[in-house]
């Protein structure tokens, strides 16, 4: 039908007709002397349009690091004032100095190092096993809408279930052994990591798949080269949450399941403090557990996640 509607328009202005397309297409490079200025024009425009991102200065970094430290100082100050003014019984609430003293004693006789090592070893080993189990499960579920529909709700449910709830069952199955602790840790961490991977893939824009299709990617190439790299931030978020769940579950398991063939970890120390009504030990143990969580986040997952997001332009400089 377009043949009938073909129309021509006479030149009305009488001005010479400039037509960039008059030449037939030739595969020969254009010897146009204007090409050089085109390059300069582009370079100038590019320089104007890219906003230079100023590197974050040292002073603002230091300020950012000092702020939480100041908050910790404020908490200790309030704690100390309370102890001085209200004078609670020391076996109910000891002062900061006393807890620090206990911490020093625990470190001096090597007990703190031993329990920290035991717990960290289990925490990291449990987390590593969780990653090894969760990743293939996640990849499988991501591949199949059917499996995802079937198992997705169960995994989301497991993620909400506090993994301490598995301790009684684990003790019945495995007795007071390390297997009990690892089982509880896995039940805590695996669902988080699987879910992280699934939601990472769910959030991959459909446009990426279309681009991949146009570029000629087959099903597997699409998954390996486009979908999985695009889902990486979600996976790392899942790993981070998986670590948090591993650590929590581990502490819960260690507090409840003590004795037998079990090694003595931080949770054990905490439970021992309770049994001996030694509040200073209890608080020292809580402080150690808290600090380890913070340190792993600050040294491992925080930087990993920030680096990943910054390299994708998903993190605005200065907000990090």
């Amino acid at each position: 039908m377009q043949a009938e509607t073909r129309t021509t328009v006479p030149s009305t202005s009488g001005a010479p007709v400039t037509d960039l397309r008059a030449q037939p297409p030739t595969p020969i490079p254009d010897p146009d002397p204007g090409a050089h200025t085109g390059r300069e024009l582009d370079a100038g425009l590019d320089a104007l349009q890219q906003q230079a991102v100023p590197p974050i200065g040292w002073s603002s970094r230091v300020a950012k690091a000092l702020l939480p430290l100041a908050a910790v100082g404020a908490v200790i100050y309030v704690w100390q004032m309370y102890v001085w003014l209200v004078r609670p019984r020391p076996d109910v609430l000891p002062g900061p100095a006393e807890v620090l003293g206990t911490l020093r004693d625990l470190l001096a006789d090597g007990q703190a190092q031993a329990v920290i090592l035991t717990s960290l070893e289990r925490g990291f080993a449990g987390f590593a096993i969780a990653v090894l189990i969760a990743t293939p499960i996640g990849l499988l579920l991501v591949q199949s809408r059917f499996l995802r529909g079937a198992f997705g709700p169960i995994i989301s449910g497991l993620q909400v279930l506090p993994s301490v709830a598995w301790v009684p069952a684990a003790i019945i199955w495995f007795g007071l052994s390390d297997a009990t602790v690892y089982f509880v840790v896995l039940m805590g961490a695996v669902p988080s990591i699987v879910n992280g991977l699934i939601s990472g893939v769910d959030q991959v824009p459909d446009q990426y798949r279309r681009v991949g299709h146009v570029l000629g990617a087959g099903r597997w190439v699409l998954v390996l080269k486009i979908v999985l790299p695009a889902a990486l931030p979600g996976y790392v978020a899942g790993l981070k949450q998986g670590w948090a769940f591993s650590w929590r579950s581990l502490m819960a398991a260690e507090i409840i399941a003590t004795g037998g063939a079990l090694g003595f970890g931080l949770g054990g120390l905490l439970e021992q403090g309770r049994v001996l009504s030694d509040m200073a030990v209890v608080m020292a143990a809580v402080l150690i557990i808290l600090s380890i969580g913070v340190v792993v986040e600050l040294l491992l997952f925080g930087p990993l996640e920030r680096r990943l997001l910054r390299r994708r332009g998903l993190l605005v400089a200065g907000t990090s």
Binding site: S11, R21, T26, Q207, R210, V214, G313
Partner: protein, 238 residues
């Protein structure tokens, strides 16, 4: 047109659901090898649908499309944010089957074609909108397909950048002799770039006008086509 067309579309119709509206209605279109065609129409008239059909991203409801494998350029550059400009281009080469050793040389050459040698190692988010579109152009050239489909690729850019990209695209077209279908809703752009301008109607989408720009006064033709486009839009006013 005596040569066999590069892209031949016959009686192409498209509905997105059996009871949904007819988006494209019996469209016929032949595009000759090496031809630069611009497709013009109000937004929502089915231009993108048409390109997606040609690229095989959608299935036709009826009618036939004969087209080679095509390269595609989207309105947003659609670069992968975790890859540098160079690696984005290299990925296209890799998926085309170019051996590893030749990829980096070839990608560097293509980035030079679009004047981006200095930005080769930057990530998409570090580039301006115009630079991202040039990377996307380099990537579509890396696909080395005889036809290139462009879906409003410069619509989101400012006028200065767009003018430069027009010149660059025409230069690339002259140098490579690719067949190009370029979508726009900007009449001036359509007349400036295309050898042939097609006007589409909305609901249902049909080709309702066709003009050759060769030997025409661009300004007069622009005025004329703008009037036609407005007439077409006004038809829906009631």
């Amino acid at each position: 047109m005596s040569e066999a067309p590069c892209i031949a579309i016959k009686q192409l119709s498209k509905r997105f659901s059996p009871l949904g509206p007819l988006v494209l209605d019996s469209v016929d279109l032949d595009v000759a090898p090496g031809e630069f065609v611009t497709l013009l129409g109000a937004s929502g008239c089915g231009k993108s649908t048409m390109l997606n059909l040609i690229a095989g991203l959608e299935r036709p409801t009826s009618g036939s499309i004969s087209a080679p494998k095509v390269a595609f350029m989207f309105q947003d550059a659609s670069l992968f944010p975790w890859l540098s400009a160079q690696r984005n281009v290299e990925l296209a080469l890799e998926l085309r089957g170019v051996p590893r050793l030749r990829r980096s040389i070839e990608a560097a050459r293509l980035l030079d074609v679009v004047h981006l040698t200095d930005a080769a190692h930057k990530k998409p988010h570090e580039l301006s909108g115009g630079m991202r579109q040039r990377v996307a152009l380099a990537r579509s050239l890396a696909q080395d397909r005889e036809a290139l489909l462009m879906d409003e690729p410069f619509a989101a850019l400012d006028a200065i950048t767009r003018d430069l990209l027009h010149e660059e695209l025409l230069r690339v077209w002259r140098e490579t002799g690719r067949t190009i279908i370029f979508i726009t809703h900007n009449v001036r752009e359509a007349v400036l770039l295309g050898q042939r301008v097609l006007l589409m109607s909305s609901r249902p989408g049909r080709v309702v006008g066709e003009w050759s720009t060769t030997g025409q006064d661009a300004a007069a033709l622009t005025t004329h086509i703008t009037a036609e486009l407005r007439k077409e839009i006004r038809r829906h006013a009631s």
